[in-house]
Symmetry: C2
Subunit: 352 residues, 2 copies
């Protein structure tokens, strides 16, 4: 606390990212990173972009990347916004589309950055209860609101929602912007990107951090009606004209273009997820069916907090949230088959 | 305009960055980029960091870079914040330290992003008139205010202020944060970084975009009392935990460590600036004495707007601001000797 801070600064409760330990080499299953490296073509493109042109500003409109994404999604570049990770895009979207007059709605159990953004901009919000199995009920999103954020699949629950339910939410809220946060959509879910042309109130947010193994490059994208994209650009250009550096732009283009590598990596992550899910269920854990690159799991009699601590002692890092409703759960990112075998073996010893 | 925009979005007048033309190869003297490439060590470090670890998030605390910067400036890492360019740091600093209750003060002629930040966060501001030669008078910064932003050297005027004057402003405003924006300080000015230990209200902002030839990498830094740094971190961690990617972190560390290259490049830019300044004065331009990597110049009888357009037709891009008080001026970034010779030759033809 400092007398130089604004009231806002003093009032904030910032987001806490997952541990990035430096002290030892963990089996790192705590921040939903992809266990496989990015496309070799992306790495090569970055190495080539590391040249004398770094003295020049990057393209502030990120046009090349937007053109490649437009082609990939079957949209036009006017439908596409890119940012420094999907977190930055969400940080622009909240003030771009939401106001102090009506609350933003999002699920009670979800990405914990949503309420942080709301507080940063002084925007009211209401959380909508998920059911006992963490399902989102579209009918509950019919109350008056100033905008909606729905992650699909949800995090940390991994709960996936059929796109028909999202259509129901979009239909019931045509006057407000509905953000569908699809950070984890590539691991088996169906995207609502095809809805973009029908719903001018839909903004879909995705990222290269998970399914494209580029958490370290900081690139996310938003897809929506050109009016929404222009709204995002107005905020961005009041904040920082050049949010993506030349290396991120080059790497992202090459990554999106390498569809074969992308599909192969996702297939491997999904196969390992299904294997791991089956294995931890056999140990006695309840696991929510996942369409993401992580599992959300609980044991009927054992403490999640203690399992988390014991795993950490054994060099396996998973994520534990000491929060109401989910304090009995662990979130475990999908690693390689070897990493998951080590995790399952440790869990078997700890939990039996 | 869209019904989905917030009132804020509709009210914004975003910043307009200098042209990044794609249509042809210009002699590009319009965005104050450095004509020399970044340190070869920075390029090598980036190429080496383009590896499988890009699948992992970067260090959200940017510790390695902060340690290197602390060593460079003779401070501790707790005095240092890094961000996605100095623009992002300023975008965090405005809400971190300024409030709606009292106006922010900055010069009337200055970086046009300052009022944009203020509007983004709904913060009132007052501009303080510079004199006819664009000098900043410290005595005018004694009126009630909620914080001050002073660029030194100023942009686009290039006008440099002795640090004693900045001390006067700091002394007169001990209750508020004074941001000194030193984006151009390395081209011959004296930094106020040594004041950081004496003034808990001082935040110095610098960048790797200009003197380190890394505009394309997006790295800036702020130096100040640990309480101010913590304030910046509270805003940042309510916005985006990972603003610097792994490549930017690696490149920035190597760049800061290569002092020899840095000093050599700056010497060259300064020598070219002095030569160019003399040459354009001989043509009949009035040029403000510059401690930056650009010249701010006016001709007693010729239209700056027309010269700008004619230069552009000839493939030479400079910056023209069609704004009161400076509509007779051109801002010209310092290029290589060859580029400046071409610029001076063209100017001689146009303006005589």
């Amino acid at each position: 606390m400092s007398s130089y801070w604004s009231e806002l600064t003093a009032s904030l409760v910032p987001y806490v990212p997952g541990e990035q330990p430096k002290d030892q080499r963990y089996i790192k299953l705590n921040t939903n990173e992809n266990p496989y490296p990015p496309s070799p073509k992306a790495i090569k493109a970055i190495q080539e972009a590391a040249n004398a042109d770094l003295r020049l500003y990057p393209d502030p409109t990120c046009e090349d990347l937007r053109v490649v994404l437009a082609d990939y999604y079957g949209l036009s570049k006017e439908h596409i916004f890119v940012g420094n990770g999907s977190d930055e895009i969400l940080a622009f979207a909240f003030p771009a589309f939401f106001s102090a007059s009506k609350p933003i709605l999002f699920p009670d159990i979800t990405y914990t950055f949503y309420p942080v953004y709301a507080k940063l901009y002084g925007l009211p919000y209401e959380t909508i209860a998920t059911d006992d199995s963490f399902n989102i009920d579209p009918a509950m999103y019919r109350i008056p609101n100033g905008g909606i954020v729905i992650p699909n699949p949800n995090a940390p629950t991994a709960r996936y929602m059929l796109t028909d339910y999202l259509r129901e939410i979009l239909d019931a809220n045509r006057e407000q912007v509905v953000i569908v946060d699809e950070a984890y959509i590539d691991f088996g879910g169906e995207s609502v990107v095809p809805f973009v042309k029908d719903y001018p109130n839909l903004l879909v947010v995705q990222t290269l951090s998970k399914s494209r193994s580029l958490a370290g490059l900081r690139v996310g994208m938003a897809l929506g009606h050109p009016d929404l994209i222009e709204g995002l650009n107005r905020i961005k250009n009041s904040f920082n004209s050049y949010t993506l550096d030349r290396l991120a732009l080059a790497g992202a283009v090459a990554s999106i273009e390498d569809r074969v590598y992308f599909e192969e990596t996702n297939r491997k992550v999904i196969a390992t997820r299904e294997r791991s899910c089956e294995a931890v269920r056999q140990i006695g854990f309840e696991v929510i069916e996942s369409k993401a690159n992580f599992l959300f799991m609980t044991h009927p009699s054992q403490s999640a907090k203690e399992i988390f601590a014991t795993l950490k002692d054994r060099g396996i890092l998973v994520r534990y949230f000491d929060k109401p409703r989910i304090e009995r759960y662990l979130r475990v990112s999908i690693g390689t088959d070897d990493e998951m075998d080590a995790f399952v073996a440790a869990l078997r010893e700890i939990a039996s």
